[in-house]
């Protein structure tokens, strides 16, 4: 389920949301990335690369 994840990201201040009224009168919620979200993404990417680096060292270069 996507929405709980979006809400959690919004709670963390990574993304922001706004309701937009469409032509047919209905509302739709739009999410956009914030500066903090970009930083968090960089951090997560760094951590992932760290884990990847360790696993590559353990298992050998041929799996990199």
């Amino acid at each position: 389920m996507l929405y709980p994840v979006l809400h959690r990201m919004e709670n963390n201040g990574w993304i922001k949301s706004r309701w937009v009224k469409m032509e047919n009168g209905r509302k739709r919620k739009y999410y956009s990335l914030k500066e903090d979200g970009k930083n968090a993404l960089d951090e997560q990417r760094t951590q992932w690369l760290k884990v990847h680096g360790v696993l590559t060292q353990l298992w050998g270069e041929k799996y990199a």
Partner: protein, 213 residues
């Protein structure tokens, strides 16, 4: 269309009965449901089957509720941690503070109004330095070289210690109460410096790993 709206209203009531009560969340889910129904109807499916399929795709409230509950949990955990830090600090301070008050009431020591202000001030500065240290640590420029970082830390510790020693010499407090106030004032920058270096060190470590990778 009237029929479809009634069905959606009924679906919304079922969701609310199943424990998803926040109107904002229900609005969002309903918007998603309506988009899905429209998409299916454009493909030639009739409104009744489109609704059934879309509702099934979204899932029953029993499956959705635990997912939404997970959202609130991490925030609660963070709050709980901060509350315990704040409570611990305040407890330590209030213990000292109450001891003074008791001794002051019993006439063993004299506390002036200024000293009371200083004490409360020292409590506030400790909390402020704690927060300030964290945010400064997150902003110091990164140092790629490990030796350079070590030299920087040693210099900062030396200079910090030296200035603290000078400060100590300049002030000639003879009363125990005043010494305690000074102790609390000096503990607060230490807390800030500790926080600052721990955050900064984490960031430098991560950056170095990133460069190597």
């Amino acid at each position: 269309m009237r029929d479809l709206n009634a069905k959606i209203a009924e679906w919304r009531a079922r969701m609310a009965a199943g424990g998803i009560k926040a109107p904002a969340v229900l609005d969002e889910l309903e918007s998603h449901l309506r988009d899905d129904i429209e998409r299916r109807m454009r493909l030639g499916v009739d409104s009744c089957s489109a609704f059934t399929a879309a509702a099934q795709q979204l899932g029953p409230p029993a499956a959705l509720k635990p997912e939404f509950e997970k959202v609130a949990r991490p925030r609660k955990q963070i709050l709980a941690r901060w509350k315990s830090v704040v409570a611990g600090t305040l407890f330590a301070y209030s213990a000292v503070f109450i001891t003074w008050l008791v001794e002051w009431r019993m006439g063993k020591i004299e506390i002036t109004g200024m000293e009371l202000v200083l004490t409360l001030g020292s409590m506030l500065t400790t909390l402020l330095f704690g927060f300030a240290g964290r945010s400064i640590g997150a902003r110091i420029p990164l140092v790629a070289n490990e030796q350079k970082q070590a030299v920087f830390v040693l210099m900062a510790v030396f200079l910090g210690g030296a200035s603290l020693r000078l400060l100590w010499n300049c002030l000639s407090f003879d009363q125990l109460v005043q010494a305690q106030i000074i102790l609390l004032w000096t503990l607060s920058p230490l807390l800030g410096v500790g926080h600052c270096f721990s955050v900064w060190n984490d960031r430098c470590y991560t950056a170095r790993k990133q460069i190597k990778a």
